[in-house]
């Protein structure tokens, strides 16, 4: 691989972030132009690389320690292969749309400079993950993504909710990173290298390695990291709260960066995940998908519904990675990740457009009738919804179908789960459409709503195109070339492409479609033209459990209070009362007590002193005489 292009792609956003921070924090136009310019140029360069078909690696040495026999080497490098090339396009492409959209969305905020700096940093970090050549470099950018998300989620830091959400996101991610880092250390300790290329070669040369129990444990630990970033089941709690950030940030986090990182990383290191770890991963993904879909059906905040939808779709992807088997082909997950990036970004941006029009009202039960007022937003939103639900010929249909087909091949239980989630997805998405866009107006707010300006609608339209068409572009085959299986030969002609899923795995395709239809009908029956949610009355306590997210947050709060906080209190107690108290003050006290006792002797009376003096002399004399 030659040239400076890949480095430019990576570092332009960083330069933009640094430039804004140093010079243009107070100039909104300059900062926006810098940030947008950087990501758009990166996108253009990525397209150029993609078209050119560049492959290979470039690197420079970051740290190198060697004692002659063994060495510890960390490189900062760029790795261009189908996986990273496609992700580059997704990150910079979707990122560009979001950047441009942000210019409109954040126009009136005083902190625009800070916002765009954060956005650029976020893009930079994500690109670093995508291009990483080794585990530690991946981890470095992994952490940077964490801090960028903290910056952006907590952008409105004066709101306690936003500040708390930022903190929660970072800390939850850190729990995952803890496992990730240990996994990386373990990989290095066992295999002596952290470089993906070398590891892959090593694995290919010695297939028995994958059965090694230490490597199996390392796989689990590495998945912890992915679970944190991709918000999988035990660590999913941060994602819905992250909605406190500005809406374009949510779009970025949910579509192109951050949550995608986990799935991407799993695919990147897929070659060294053992069978046990994969099965575990599959089930975690499935559980996340189902739980999140269930929680989504009782949310009323437009962004939260989308957040749970993201969770659920991520569960799908992770499940697919798990189901693809040892040394298998997880390209379905990447395919879904890509299409999901398009339509989820579109959904969030559309939601942002609605929120902007309604002066930051996010409760869907205060909306209604927006399809007439905001046609562009509505129709693009609709396209994204259909894609998300998996309606042919939208992009989501193809990617979801591949997932279901994989599940059908390997695990009937997870296949059933996947189909159920597909139905639930359609249900909650159309609930959102019916309540917010088509149904009767439920407050005064929508009366004054009007379509957003072009700077906002253009990105919507731009994203609607791939949401609609990405299924036909052979993205899955491109990814598959990474994993060397190359099973899916290209169908010719668009009709053949459209019907390809039905030809390959008819069970999965029809099952998915049936779920979509059922979900749609249920939503139609329950929510068409409704002003109030009928479900709580029907489900009672279950609805409350769904609405309150199965009380995970409360559980974790209790858990943390019972463990870490209790430990901290204990440590503080020990520090204050035992070490600083008993030992230090005790020593101090006993010395002082001795001093006080000896002070009694100091009467100030001359004669007492001389008496003691005499007594001392007597003792000395006696001693000398006896001796």
């Amino acid at each position: 691989m030659t040239g400076i292009f890949p480095w430019l792609i990576l570092f332009l956003p960083l330069l933009a972030a640094a430039g804004i921070t140093l010079f243009a924090l107070d100039h909104r136009a300059v900062s926006a132009r810098l940030s947008i310019g950087a990501v758009v140029i990166s996108f253009a360069l990525s397209v150029a690389l993609f078209v050119h078909g560049t492959r290979g690696e470039t690197r420079f040495n970051w740290i190198s320690l060697s004692d002659g026999a063994a060495s510890w080497i960390v490189d900062i490098g760029l790795r261009l292969d189908p996986l990273s090339l496609m992700m580059l396009l997704v990150v910079t492409g979707v990122g560009s749309a979001i950047h441009i959209y942000s210019y409109g969305y954040m126009h009136d905020d005083p902190g625009v400079g800070r916002y765009f700096a954060g956005l650029s940093l976020f893009t930079f970090s994500m690109l670093g993950i995508v291009l990483a050549t080794n585990f530690l470099m991946l981890f470095i950018f992994w952490e940077l993504v964490g801090v960028s998300s903290w910056l952006l989620i907590g952008f409105w830091f004066e709101r306690p909710a936003a500040a708390d959400a930022a903190k929660k996101a970072f800390l939850t991610n850190r729990v995952g990173d803890f496992g990730f880092l240990l996994g990386i250390i373990l990989v290095w300790a066992v295999l002596g290298t952290m470089d993906f290329g070398q590891l892959q070669k090593m694995m290919a040369a010695n297939p028995a390695l994958i059965g090694n129990s230490t490597i199996g444990i390392a796989g689990f630990l590495i998945f912890c990291g992915a679970a944190g970033k991709s918000a999988q089941f035990p660590l999913h709690v941060w994602l819905p709260d992250a909605m406190e950030g500005p809406t374009p940030v949510s779009a970025l986090i949910h579509a192109a960066t951050m949550v995608a990182a986990g799935v991407y990383m799993l695919c990147r290191v897929h070659f060294m995940l053992a069978a046990d770890a994969l099965e575990f991963i599959a089930w975690i993904g499935g559980i996340t998908a189902l739980l999140a879909a269930l929680m989504a059906i009782q949310q009323n905040d437009i962004k939260r519904i989308l957040a749970y939808s993201t969770l659920s779709q991520l569960g799908y992807m992770v499940m697919t990675v798990g189901l693809s088997g040892v040394g298998g082909n997880p390209s379905a997950a990447m395919f879904h990740l890509t299409t999901h990036a398009f339509f989820k970004a579109l959904l969030f941006l559309g939601a942002g457009s609605v929120i902007l029009a309604l002066h930051h009202e996010q409760d869907i039960w205060k909306m209604g009738g927006l399809s007439k007022k905001m046609p562009v937003t509505f129709w693009t939103f609709m396209i994204a919804t259909l894609a998300l639900c998996g309606v042919p010929p939208f992009s989501g249909f193809f990617s979801k179908d591949e997932i279901l087909a994989t599940a059908q091949r390997t695990s009937p239980a997870l296949f059933a789960l996947g189909v159920a989630v597909a139905g639930l997805t359609t249900f909650y998405m159309f609930r959102l459409i019916f309540v917010a866009f088509t149904g009767p107006v439920k407050s005064q707010l929508p009366d004054h709503a009007h379509e957003s300006p072009a700077v906002i609608t253009l990105p919507l339209v731009a994203l609607a195109v791939p949401s609609l068409l990405a299924g036909f572009w052979g993205i899955d085959r491109f990814y598959a070339s990474q994993f060397g299986t190359g099973e899916a030969e290209a169908a010719t002609g668009w009709v053949a492409q459209l019907t390809a899923p039905f030809a390959h795995a008819p069970g999965a395709a029809f099952g998915g479609l049936a779920a979509v239809v059922i979900g749609f009908l249920a939503a139609f029956a329950l929510y068409w033209n409704k002003v109030q949610d009928p479900l709580p009355a029907m489900l009672g306590v279950v609805a409350r459990w769904l609405r309150d997210r199965f009380y995970f947050d409360e559980l974790y709060a209790k858990l943390i209070a019972a463990t870490q906080d209790a430990l901290a209190t204990l440590a503080d107690f020990v520090d204050r009362w035992l070490i600083a108290g008993l030992f230090v003050k005790g020593t101090h006290g006993s010395v002082e007590l001795t001093g006080r006792l000896l002070r009694l002797v100091q009467t100030g009376n001359l004669q007492t002193y001389s008496l003691m003096f005499v007594a001392g002399v007597a003792v000395l004399l006696l001693f000398m005489l006896i001796r």
Partner: protein
């Protein structure tokens, strides 16, 4: 006069100049302090970048015999272990001199003591003679106590001063006993450290003697570095110290104990090290985990920073205890990184204290709105403190964790927990309460750092952190040969990169 002599004597010359300046020239004191520390800093920068990485021998060496009979000499020089420390010390000293604008009374004495402290610190790190090594450290400690006692803040500064004085004197005393015992046991009759090292390598000290001398040095130096459970002086002392003193002590002078372990205890007492370092590896958990947990509960920003500073020392201890090339190199990197970070954090908290008059976190909130510059830097410092990549701390900490994995797996697991999660919890809690949230009415008059001079020290320290964080090779390439020598001295050749069994490739 060599460059090292110059950078050590510069602050002392400044101190003499200040002593000779009449009391009414307040501006002049500041000017002299800034100028001399800047000259030291410039010289140290030159030394650092002209230092030839990869070479094992001592560079910029200067030698001048002093007491012939005892073989004490003015022997200066830098190798991988101390070249970065000298650079960091000079940088922090310059920043501390810049931050001294908050001192308004008895300026003459303050700047004088500051310069003496600076000279002592630089001397302690650049000396290769046992006598001067110890002498300069003590010389730097005395002004520390006076500065805390006279210019300290907070109502219990007397208690803090006494506690710190007693602890540090005790630590220095124990270390001195250890050094004397070492000198006697080695039977080499020289104070020259390289010569002593060569002698001991040729004729090792008896194992039985090593086994009791090493703990003396370990705990003596350990108390100076706030090794758990001898750490309680540190948060309290730093909370009470005036900002420049806290910066210099927490940032630089404290590292003397660690440097002593690496420079003297490990190479001269390999058998003792083998026996006692596992104990150190366990005690470092006390620093990392326990002090981290304590930091979670702190309500005062300075106490929080102080506790976190104590916690970070655990990484250095763990790196030293790992006895692996990666670990020891990482330990030195953490020393440098933490020096810059602690100085930055205390400088910022000093600024806040100056503006708000309090450091109780409950009373703060939303300060980022009022203090975009200082607030951003504080947030960055906090993130550096919880090991964010891009800052030098990350490079060091991750190396320590890697290096120690083979020998102390369980410790590494807990240390990683402490680093990634406990550290993040208290740092983010601090940011959340101090910088985020609504701004209380009473802080509407708070002002950000007004001009470049005020911003300079913060920016310099942060730049150092970022430079070493983004290009850690600047440090590791210089440290590696010296670290390898130390590890080989203890383990015998070949030095294990990491003591673990690797699978067949």
């Amino acid at each position: 006069m060599g460059l090292l002599s110059f950078l050590i004597l510069c602050p002392f010359a400044g101190a003499v100049l200040i002593a000779l300046t009449p009391r009414s020239f307040n501006v002049l004191f500041r000017l002299i302090a800034l100028l001399t520390t800047f000259l030291s800093f410039a010289a140290a920068t030159w030394v650092f970048f002209a230092f030839h990485p990869g070479a094992t021998h001592v560079q910029f060496e200067e030698f001048c015999p002093w007491v012939g009979a005892l073989r004490i000499g003015w022997h200066l020089g830098v190798d991988g272990l101390n070249v970065a420390l000298v650079f960091m010390a000079a940088l922090v000293a310059f920043a501390a001199a810049c931050c001294s604008w908050e001192i308004k009374e008895r300026q003459k004495e303050f700047y004088l003591l500051l310069l003496v402290m600076t000279g002592g610190i630089l001397g302690a790190f650049a000396s290769l003679d046992l006598f001067f090594f110890y002498f300069f450290h003590e010389l730097a400690l005395v002004p520390t106590f006076i500065m805390i006692g006279v210019w300290g803040r907070g109502e219990n500064r007397n208690y803090a001063t006494f506690k710190m004085t007693i602890y540090l004197s005790l630590g220095a005393l124990i270390a001195l006993i250890g050094l004397i015992a070492l000198y006697v046991a080695a039977g080499a009759r020289t104070f020259d450290i390289p010569e002593l090292t060569r002698d001991v390598a040729a004729r090792p000290i008896a194992a039985s003697a090593q086994h009791w001398i090493f703990p003396l040095l370990m705990f003596g130096f350990g108390i100076l570095v706030s090794l758990w459970p001898f750490h309680t002086w540190a948060p309290l002392g730093y909370g009470a110290a005036p900002t420049p003193t806290a910066m210099l002590h927490a940032g630089v002078l404290k590292k003397f104990g660690l440097y002593g372990l690496l420079r003297i205890a490990l190479p001269l007492l390999p058998e003792g090290a083998q026996r006692w370092l596992p104990v150190l590896a366990l005690l470092c958990l006390g620093n990392l985990l326990y002090c981290g947990l304590v930091a979670i509960r702190q309500k005062n920003l300075n106490l929080l920073i102080g506790n976190s500073s104590v916690a970070h020392m655990g990484f250095v201890f763990l790196g030293i205890a790992s006895l692996s090339l990666v670990g020891v190199t990482g330990a030195v990197v953490v020393m440098v990184a933490h020096g810059l970070l602690a100085a930055l954090a205390f400088a910022l908290s000093g600024y806040l204290q100056n503006q708000l008059g309090t450091l109780e976190m409950e009373q703060m909130g939303g300060l980022l709105r009022k203090l975009p510059f200082v607030g951003t830097l504080l947030a960055l410092a906090m993130f550096a403190g919880c090991g964010l990549p891009g800052f030098a701390n990350f490079a060091g900490e991750v190396m320590v964790l890697f290096g120690a994995w083979g020998g102390h797996t369980t410790v590494v697991v807990l240390a990683a927990w402490a680093a990634l999660i406990v550290g993040a919890v208290y740092m983010l809690r601090a940011i959340r309460t101090v910088l985020h949230g609504p701004l209380p009415e009473k802080w509407s008059g708070v002002a950000d750092a007004p001009h470049a001079w005020r911003k300079l020290p913060f920016a310099l320290l942060l730049a150092g952190l970022l430079l070493f964080g983004c290009v850690p090779r600047l440090l590791t390439d210089r440290i590696q040969p010296a670290a390898l020598t130390v590890v080989r001295a203890v383990n015998g050749t070949p030095a294990a990169l990491m003591a673990t069994t690797q699978l067949p490739r």
